[in-house]
């Protein structure tokens, strides 16, 4: 057992932290949220590319740095702590990883390379209306056509779908709606699909994607059977949510501790009341436990055995659901009235936490997986 960060990892954390401090204080997210924009900055994404962060999880032959998911988690934790809105998770962990796992050299060059540079971004479209968190429940169809395939169907809540240059889409090439076989992955230009931009609770944008007989070439299909890749990638999303969530929990705890340390009522700092001290300690306990489970998820998500992978990720996501929610709720509570205002940053963390809980499988979904793999 060894939990220490390497020198390189420590350096990475320091660089991300100081970059975020300089380039992306919370006010920047707030401004982008309130402006009529895509909600993030292409320039900042490019800078992240220049720093090499977007290359971290990819093999060297793909233009990556061959880093581990733990490195990715360290980055996401810091981005989460400052609510950095750039689509690292959507473009790198989801779209990028799907391409990396399933794509061929030509597809890598065309779609993945620019995402690693940060000059373009990706998205992954998998969720469907009645699918809930079941990745096999794909009703979007890919029918053979003269050129390759014709895609028809609807995808919901596609993160970064509104701004991505290309979207990886799960569609059925054969079988029935819930079959584990017959799911293909296709990389589709965003301009080829119909996008309805939607708002999410955390102040981000996402897309509802309609594929209305979209023609794609045979060379836009990624690999063969799509489900194993999709499951691996979405587990990556869950592990990433845990890492970002850890950043949210840490930041929420710090902000709340600072607040109750200076707010006075009854002639005393409210942080001196034992009821609130105990609450803050409970928040701290949940956060420390989340650090452990986040490491578990980040390590296990790369386990070649799907069962180990699922189990590690699910344990972490269950902890995020309960511990993260507790920290988010109590942070607002301990702020009193000001916690209910949109002006206070704590509410932004609160909302983001609930979005992470609803993504990549909720508590029940992951509890069921833990039960199934125990």
């Amino acid at each position: 057992m060894q939990f220490d960060l390497s020198d390189d990892q420590r350096l990475l954390v320091d660089t991300v932290t100081s970059f975020v401090k300089k380039e992306s204080p919370v006010e920047r997210f707030r401004r982008l949220r309130d402006e009529d924009s895509i909600g993030w900055s292409r320039e900042v994404m490019k800078k992240m590319g220049d720093l090499g962060w977007l290359a971290i999880p990819f093999r060297e032959e793909l233009g990556g740095l061959g880093g581990s998911f733990v490195d990715v988690a360290l980055i996401l934790e810091q981005l989460g702590a400052a609510l950095v809105p750039e689509p690292y998770l959507a473009s790198i962990v989801l779209g990028g990883m799907a391409l990396a796992h399933a794509g061929n050299a030509e597809q890598h060059g065309r779609y993945l390379a620019p995402a690693i540079e940060g000059s373009k971004t990706l998205a992954l479209a998998y969720a469907e209306e009645d699918g809930r968190y079941d990745l096999a429940r794909v009703s979007t169809r890919a029918e053979k056509s003269a050129k390759g395939y014709r895609l028809s169907g609807k995808k919901r809540w596609v993160l970064n779908g509104h701004a991505a240059d290309a979207i990886v889409v799960a569609a059925r090439v054969g079988g029935e709606v819930a079959d584990r076989e017959g799911i293909g992955l296709f990389v589709v230009d965003r301009d080829a699909v119909k996008i309805d931009v939607v708002r999410t609770m955390d102040g981000h944008r996402a897309a509802m994607v309609t594929l209305d007989g979209v023609e794609v070439g045979a060379d836009q299909r990624l690999g063969d059977e799509g489900l194993p890749v999709l499951e691996r990638v979405v587990d990556g999303g869950a592990a990433a949510a845990c890492a970002e969530g850890l950043g949210l929990m840490n930041a929420s705890l710090r902000i709340t501790r600072d607040y109750i340390s200076q707010r006075e009522q009854f002639g005393l700092k409210i942080g001196s009341f034992q009821a609130l001290q105990h609450r803050a300690v409970d928040m701290f306990v949940e956060t420390e436990l989340a650090r452990g489970t986040t490491i578990l998820a980040a390590v296990r998500v790369e386990d070649p055995d799907p069962r180990e992978r699922q189990r590690g990720v699910s344990i972490a996501k269950v902890h995020l659901a309960s511990g993260g929610r507790f920290v988010a709720q109590q942070s607002v509570q301990l702020h009193g009235g000001i916690g209910i205002t949109d002006e206070a940053d704590i509410g932004l963390y609160f909302k983001r936490m609930h979005v992470l809980n609803a993504l990549f499988g909720d508590e029940d979904h992951h509890l069921a997986r833990v039960a199934a793999t125990g």
Partner: protein, 392 residues
């Protein structure tokens, strides 16, 4: 022990139900259905309809225009109104300042203010909290200086719900700066149109502008707007907090949110089957239902006690505490059941199934239920001292 309502009480419940069904304007029904955010005009429209029926203020005595209902019928009426999803009326006039004026006001004040509260002609807001006086309300600083026939107000109130729409504000102000905390406070009524009153609405995490900062700069308030004794406002403040506490059990609205949870569970598919087929989901919903039923029993006990003229006991102190937790828990349950649709935020109709689009905003806003009307931590302090008799 008898847990049943009398046949007359049951008939009354039926009467209330059918009245609401026929009287709620058709254009408000879709929003009522989904617990959407009612605009102030919509709230006041419903207020006027209930006024006409004579039910706008279930707990007001007959002499002031109330329906003269007994405790049980009042409860039934309130519960059914909450259950229906009709706009919740503004409590500031009907449930707060109105009863205080009845109890502490003089005849001129009763005549001047009560009828317009009842008819909805004048809307009120509550000016208690200040930036540095929340839980510790008695440390409030808004000054009301004696200037002969009037007071001059300077200072700020905060979190003033719906001040942006209010015609009047009732407030606690410091009239004697030299007296110790609780003793130098007076209870005043101030016309919001008076020069020097300024309101700044604040966006909440629920996505609506529910409350405001309210600023007072050399605002003149005639002395006749003092309610109760000069420097005696703390007695009124405490009386009001008692009223407030019984308001927030919110049994009816939680029952309604429970129905919403059941509906979402029925309409949401997993593995091609409704979520409500899943024993674990059913157990989760049933657990919330048990919590609600337990709260209901506590509420009934409080009502029965009041009917026999008993002072509110322990059961009423826990109504706010547990009621607010249940309000929040019900929405949390709905949000969980929604899966990905829980992401939605102020999107066009149809983005998620209709009844679900306000779950997220309501869930967020209702984090306030454990903060306002005396935070739950403060309630626990009170119960620890006054009921358990623990040493301080």
């Amino acid at each position: 022990m008898d847990l049943s309502f009398t046949p007359e009480e049951r008939a009354f419940r039926e009467e209330v139900r059918s009245f609401i069904a026929s009287a709620l304007p058709a254009h408000l029904k879709p929003k009522a259905e989904i617990d959407g955010h009612f605009e102030i005009d919509e709230i006041m429209e419903w207020h006027r309809i209930l006024f006409q029926k004579g039910w706008v203020a279930p707990h007001w005595p007959k002499e002031f225009g109330g329906p003269g209902l007994d405790v049980t019928r009042r409860f039934i009426l309130t519960e059914e109104l909450e259950l229906s999803g009709a706009p919740a009326l503004l409590p500031f006039g009907l449930a707060m300042v109105g009863p205080l004026i009845m109890q502490f006001g003089n005849d001129a004040q009763k005549k001047r203010y009560l009828p317009k509260i009842l008819s909805g002609e004048e809307k009120w807001c509550q000016g208690y909290s200040e930036p540095n006086a929340g839980s510790d309300l008695a440390s409030l600083k808004l000054r009301a200086d004696d200037a002969g026939d009037h007071f001059v107000l300077n200072g700020q109130k905060t979190w003033t719900t719906y001040a942006q729409y209010a015609d009047w504000i009732f407030l606690l102000a410091r009239t004697d700066a030299s007296a110790k905390k609780q003793s130098g406070i007076s209870f005043l009524l101030c016309d919001m149109k008076t020069e020097g009153v300024r309101v700044r609405p604040t966006l909440t995490i629920g996505g609506t502008h529910a409350f405001c900062d309210t600023f007072f700069e050399n605002v003149k308030v005639p002395k006749e707007n003092l309610v109760g004794p000069l420097h005696g406002g703390w007695t009124l403040a405490k009386a009001l907090l008692g009223h407030e506490r019984t308001l927030v059990a919110a049994v009816g609205s939680s029952a309604r949110t429970l129905l919403r949870a059941k509906r979402i569970a029925r309409d949401t598919l997993r593995d091609g089957r409704p979520l409500s087929d899943d024993p674990l989901v059913r157990a989760k919903i049933a657990r919330m239902e048990c919590r609600l039923e337990a709260l209901k029993m506590a509420n009934y006990r409080a009502i029965a006690g009041a009917k026999h003229g008993h002072a509110p006991g322990a059961e009423s102190s826990i109504l706010k505490l547990r009621g607010s937790e249940i309000v929040q828990g019900m929405y949390e349950l709905c949000l969980e059941l929604m899966g990905h649709n829980a992401l939605t935020w102020m999107n066009p109709d149809g983005t998620v199934p209709g009844s679900e689009q306000w779950v997220g905003p309501n869930y967020n806003y209702l984090r306030a239920a454990t903060i306002y009307a005396g935070s739950n931590e403060i309630q626990k302090n009170i119960i620890a001292k006054l009921i358990l008799g623990l040493p301080s």
